[in-house]
Every structure is written in structure tokens, then in C-alpha cells.
């Protein structure tokens, strides 16, 4: 599969999109916390899980990028 090739996973666009997605979710979480938006435990858990998953994906694609291009 195209997406499975290391060079594709380590492409700048993949890293950038994952990074921006992380920042957006973290921004939403911080904004909700500061403004005092009452998120249900379920929504909060969903946001947290999404952030963790995205951070793991980001770490993986960065490692792949290092290994592929170094």
C-alpha cells in the first residue's frame, strides 16, 4: 500500500497535519478549561484519548521520518 511505505509516512505533510491536529485538540482542551465549559466526562475522555493517540502517531511518524531520511 502507498501509505505503508516509510517515505510516505515520514513525509513533511503527514508530520505537519498530525502536529496541527494535536495543537488544535490541545487548544480546545485548554480553552474549555480556562473558560469553564462544562464538558461531560465522556467528552473529556474522548478528547484526552484523541490527544494521546495523535501524540503517539506524531511520535511514530517523526521517528519514521528520522529513520527514513537520516
Amino acid at each position: 500500500m502507498f501509505i505503508a511505505t516509510p517515505s510516505a509516512l515520514g513525509a513533511p505533510a503527514v508530520v505537519l497535519v498530525t502536529l496541527i491536529a494535536c495543537i488544535v485538540l490541545l487548544g480546545v482542551r485548554a480553552w474549555a478549561g480556562v473558560v469553564g465549559v462544562a464538558l461531560t466526562r465522556r467528552v473529556m475522555a474522548l478528547v484526552n484519548a484523541s490527544i494521546v493517540v495523535l501524540l503517539v502517531v506524531l511520535a511514530v511518524v517523526i521517528v519514521i521520518r528520522f529513520k527514513t531520511y537520516a
Partner: protein
């Protein structure tokens, strides 16, 4: 210990000093006047192997001591007068950090000239030069400077170089005061901590460089966070559970979910102010991520330290700062790491080798150079020792300062940073080490965390206690300040440059055509500021481990069209590399015998041209 005793301010207990209202400021003004007279009469060309201190006369030290006395007098007054303390600190900064700029005819440190060259390239071409130098992979600071250069209508950044150290050190003052005010130490210890910071910062990282700018970013981020968030007040269980049991519980809480989610810190700022701070800190973290290799990670560690010590309410900030730093490394700095990733990750975990390359490799050279290097180590050790005493003596609500001092050491585990990692660790911890050292003398008297050693009750010996305190403050401040003046300018005999040396380099640059190299023996010249792509600088003996014959042979192998010999390189050879007195003349004779001719000569520099090639 009774609650009454805890509530008392230790200095108020002593009965504060009551000098005349304006004595401190008068001493500051007199000190500044003596400094002006001193630097006006200093002769740069009389500089000896000891560096800057060798051209300073008694008026300089009298001025410095008077300012320190004025500061201590103000510090022991009640109530404290922040405007006057700030004025005295500013004078102290001018005296310690403005001296080299005032005496030396042109900016020192070759790297500041190289950075000016990078900026000139951006001004001329509108973009950084990819693949030329690792520093160009973090071009934020250079781009900002290029914008400023264009904005003021200049074509290069030379006019920024000379006074940059003083300007940037003065700009550190505001965030340092905010940090001191909000770090959980007593007010007097806070002011003393800022003074100690300036009196002990011998690490010359404030020359014209991205790291100097990024250090300001670092301080502003920490200052904003500490000003915005406070530890959540908690009902102490110490009366019920016992003091030490309470401490163990609080220590275990460092990794509790509440702590890591930021629930243990609160803010009294409005929602819009808090969001504004968050956005601003994120923006600064981004600016830092694209400007410097190391500082973004120091910011991440410091933010994490604030989080686990209940001084940061939004953990997202730590993660955002981290992914911005790693993201830029992965994407923006790929020109740097593609092909040599080992330079980034090769020293991970090699702590012994890192410490070795950071400390022992610097302890070499002549007796005077060794004296300066050893005094630097001694000063740093003394400051950390004082900070250790501060750790034992101080009252506090959290161990914020201790964690902020320790956090940068994690950087050494990951990177030796070209043999300078340990210096940066000390630098990043210095604002907090200074506050802890100040707490050794003025430990405060409030907080849920008690001192680990018995508190000395100065109220028992009121008069002598006051005199002892004033004496200790004075001796500490003056000793550190004088030692910093000595060691900070300790390399100036070869890192400060004369007008002749600058003119020699300008002559070589103006006559060199594309493809011709300018040869130097070592990089101790104002070099690299022009034609960075078309006229390379060739350094024959950067490490200082060649014989004089090998230097000649090196030049003949590479055959640079132009060779610049200078007083600074000669001083470096004698003081650091261990070459005999007058060694540069030997190299010059060797070059002349092999076809070079002297084309221009100044008192401190000579330009030679190769006549054997076209």
C-alpha cells in the same frame, strides 16, 4: 515553632537600617560616575593575558563596590522601594555588562560577526541559506534581525553588535524581577536573587546571537507562568498526620492525576487575560522553536517543572511547547539532520563523556588562562553550595526553585551541545539558583515547607545580628560581582578585537573575489560577516593542536588567496594553544618563504596574499 514566629519577617525582626532616604541612590549615581571615568581612561591596547580586568583601574572597582553598598542599604530598608532597587540593579548591570562594550573598539566574539553575516545574507536574498550552517536551520532570530536591519535602513547588523550584551542583559531585568516576585521567596530574597544573578552570570552567552534572544524568551515564559498561576491553597494535614507524613504525601502527589492535569494551580486572572497569556506563551514557544536548537527544550522542562510544583494550571502548554520544538526539528531543520542524525542523538545517555567534554577540555592553557577557568568553576560551585544552604534553610510553599534548578540537567543527558551543554545547564538554572542562594541568607519565614535545619533566631542578638546580616550580604555580593568581572572578560585578550583587526578583515573581504578563501590560523577575528557564500574562511588550527610547521603546511595545502594574522590569534596561541611567545611571526616568515607577500599591515593585524596562484 509558634505561628507568631512563622509570620514574622526575619529582616523586620532585626530592625532595618535607617540611612538617609537617598543614600542608596546617591551611591548608585557616584558608582556610575566612577565607572564612566574608569572606562574613559581605560586603554584597550594595555590588555594583558588576564583580559578585560587588566585595563580597569581603581575607580571601576570603587564604583562597583559603592553600587553594591547602595543596593544592600536599600535592601535592608523598610518598606522596600522597588523603583530605587531597580535603578541600582540597572546600574549594576551597566557596570558589569557594559564595560567591554564601552572599552573595546569593536564587538568581540567571532560568532557575533558570523551571525551578522547570516543576517546580511537574509537582507540581500530574502531567505536563509539552506545547508550552509546548522544555525541556518533555526533561522527565526536571524530573520527577525534582518527585518530590524531593513526597518532602520541599514544594510548590515554591525551597529547592533557592540552594545548588544548590555541591551539584552538589561532586557532580562523585567522578567527576572517578575520571577523573583512570584517564586515563593521573601521579597528581600527576591531582590537579592536578581542581584546575585547579575553578579554571577559569567557565562558569556549574551553576545549578538539567537541564544541571547531565546534566553529572554525563556525568562518571559517562566515569568508569565509564575505570575499567572498560584498553588491551590490546601488544608494541611500536618497537625493531624504529622509534618513528615504530610511531606511524603505531598511528594507522592507530584505524579497524581490532579497535579498533572493542572488542578493544583489556580489563577486569579480573568478568562481573557489567561487566554491571552496562553496564546502569548505559545507564540513565544513557536518563536523559540524556530530560533534556537536548545532553548525550546529548556522551556519544555521548565514548564514541566512548574506543572509538577503546582505553578502551571494548563498542562497543554507543556505538550504544545514540546511538539513545536520537535516538530520544527523534524520539518524545518531537516537540512541540518539529514545525513548526520548522530550529531543530535549520538551523545544521548553519554553523561560521563558530556561532562568530560564540557569541563575538563576547557581546563587547559597558560597559567593566567587556567586561573580564569578555575575561578569560573569555583564561582559556580560556590553559588550551588549557597543554593544548597538555601534549600536547607528556606521556608516555602513548594519546591519550585529546586525543580527548576535541577530540570536543565536533563538536557545534558540528551546532548553535549558541542561541549557547551553544561554551561547552558548552569545558565538556564541560574535565575533560580540565585534565588535559592539568596534564600541561604534571607530564608523567609512563611510557608508550609519548613527549613531542614534549625532557624537561627536573630532577634536574640538584635544589634550584632543586623550588622552581621548586612556584612554577609555585602561581602557575598561584592565578592561575586568582582569575580564575575574578572572571569567574564577573562578571554578578552583573544576574543576582543581591535579596529585594525576589523580593518584587516574588511580589506581582505573587499579584495577577495568569488572563490578565493581567506585563511586564518584560528577563528579569533571579526570574520564571517560578509560574502558568506562566495568567500569562505579557512581556519588552519581551530583545535589548537597543530605544530607551527603543520600550520604552515596546512595553509600550503589549502592555499587560501588571503591570510590574515592578528594580535588576537597570537594571544590565543600563547594563552590557550600553548605556542611560544612570538609564534605568529614564525608562521608569517614561513608563509612569506612559500610565496605569500604582506599587502597591508596595521598595528594589530597583517594581511598576506598568495602570489603563486592567480
Amino acid at each position: 515553632m509558634s505561628t507568631d514566629t512563622l509570620a514574622r519577617d526575619s529582616v523586620s525582626d532585626l530592625g532595618v537600617l535607617r540611612p538617609s532616604n537617598t543614600l542608596g541612590v546617591i551611591l548608585g549615581i557616584v558608582g556610575l560616575s566612577l565607572w564612566i571615568l574608569s572606562v574613559r581612561s581605560a586603554d584597550f591596547f594595555n590588555m594583558s593575558a588576564l583580559g578585560l580586568v587588566s585595563v580597569l583601574n581603581w575607580m571601576y572597582f570603587a564604583g562597583l563596590i559603592l553600587v553594591c553598598i547602595g543596593f544592600v542599604l536599600e535592601l535592608l530598608r523598610a518598606p522596600l522601594r522597588p523603583a530605587r532597587l531597580t535603578f541600582l540593579l540597572a546600574v549594576l548591570v551597566v557596570i558589569i555588562y557594559g564595560t567591554a562594550s564601552a572599552i573595546e573598539p569593536v564587538a568581540g566574539i567571532t560568532d557575533s560577526w558570523i551571525h551578522a553575516g547570516f543576517i546580511q545574507y537574509i537582507v540581500q536574498h530574502g531567505q536563509p541559506l539552506n545547508g550552509y550552517d546548522a544555525r541556518f536551520s533555526w533561522p527565526g532570530g536571524f530573520s527577525l534581525a534582518a527585518i530590524l536591519v531593513s526597518w532602520v535602513g541599514k544594510t548590515n547588523a554591525y551597529s547592533f553588535l557592540r552594545w548588544f550584551p548590555l541591551v539584552i542583559e538589561l532586557s532580562y531585568l523585567a522578567p527576572l524581577i517578575v520571577i523573583a516576585k512570584n517564586a515563593g521567596v521573601s521579597r528581600r530574597a527576591g531582590w537579592l536573587g536578581v542581584a546575585l544573578y547579575y553578579a554571577t552570570n559569567w557565562i558569556f552567552q549574551d553576545y549578538f546571537s539567537p541564544q541571547a534572544l531565546n534566553y529572554l524568551f525563556f525568562l518571559v515564559v517562566i515569568a508569565a507562568v509564575l505570575a499567572c498561576w498560584r498553588p491551590r491553597s490546601r488544608t494541611t494535614g500536618s497537625e493531624v498526620a504529622g509534618y513528615w507524613r504530610e511531606r511524603v504525601l505531598q511528594t507522592r502527589a507530584i505524579i497524581s492525576r490532579e497535579r498533572l492535569e493542572g488542578f493544583d494551580a489556580v489563577t486569579e486572572w480573568s478568562i481573557s487575560q489567561t487566554i491571552g497569556v496562553l496564546l502569548l506563551v505559545c507564540l513565544i514557544c513557536f518563536a523559540s522553536a524556530i530560533s534556537h536548537q536548545l532553548t525550546p527544550y529548556a522551556i519544555v522542562l521548565a514548564l514541566a517543572a512548574c506543572l509538577i510544583t503546582r505553578r502551571l494550571g494548563r498542562p497543554e502548554l507543556v505538550i504544545v511547547a514540546g511538539i513545536l520544538a520537535v516538530g520544527w526539528l523534524s520539518l524545518g531543520a531537516s537540512n541540518y539532520w539529514i545525513g548526520h542524525l548522530s550529531t543530535i542523538f549520538g551523545s544521548v545517555g553519554a553523561v560521563g563523556a558530556t561532562v568530560g567534554s564540557n569541563v575538563t577540555s576547557h581546563v587547559t592553557g597558560s597559567a593566567s588562562h587556567l586561573f580564569v577557568v578555575k575561578l569560573r568553576i569555583l564561582m559556580t560551585a560556590a553559588l550551588y553550595l549557597m543554593a544548597g544552604v538555601g534549600f536547607l534553610r528556606r521556608w516555602s510553599d513548594s519546591r519550585l526553585l529546586e525543580v527548576l534548578v535541577a530540570a536543565p540537567f536533563l538536557l545534558v543527558l540528551a546532548q553535549n551541545y558541542g561541549g557547551e551543554g553544561l554551561l547552558r545547564v548552569v545558565l538556564f538554572g541560574l535565575p533560580f539558583t540565585s534565588l535559592m542562594a539568596a534564600s541561604a541568607i534571607l530564608p523567609g519565614s512563611r510557608g508550609s515547607i519548613r527549613p531542614l535545619v534549625p532557624t537561627i533566631d536573630f532577634t536574640r542578638f538584635r544589634q550584632s545580628g543586623r550588622a552581621v546580616l548586612a556584612g554577609v550580604l555585602l561581602v557575598t555580593l561584592i565578592a561575586f560581582a568582582i569575580a564575575t568581572v574578572v572571569v567574564r572578560g577573562g578571554n578578552d585578550s583573544y576574543e576582543a578585537y581591535s579596529t585594525g583587526e576589523l580593518q584587516a578583515m574588511n580589506y581582505a573581504y573587499s579584495h577577495a573575489v568569488t572563490g578565493q578563501a581567506i585563511g586564518v590560523i584560528a577563528d579569533y577575528l571579526p570574520a564571517g560577516q560578509e560574502k558568506i557564500l562566495s568567500v569562505p574562511i579557512y581556519s588552519a588550527d581551530f583545535e589548537g593542536n597543530l605544530t607551527l610547521k603543520q600550520i604552515d603546511a596546512d595553509f600550503l595545502t589549502v592555499h587560501p588567496k588571503w591570510v590574515v594574522l592578528s594580535q588576537s590569534q597570537e594571544a590565543w596561541g600563547e594563552l590557550v594553544a600553548g605556542y611560544p611567545f612570538g609564534w605568529e611571526a614564525t608562521v608569517e616568515v614561513g608563509l612569506i618563504q612559500k610565496g605569500y607577500v604582506i599587502v597591508k599591515h596595521w598595528r594589530t593585524a597583517t594581511v598576506l596574499r598568495d602570489t603563486t596562484s592567480t
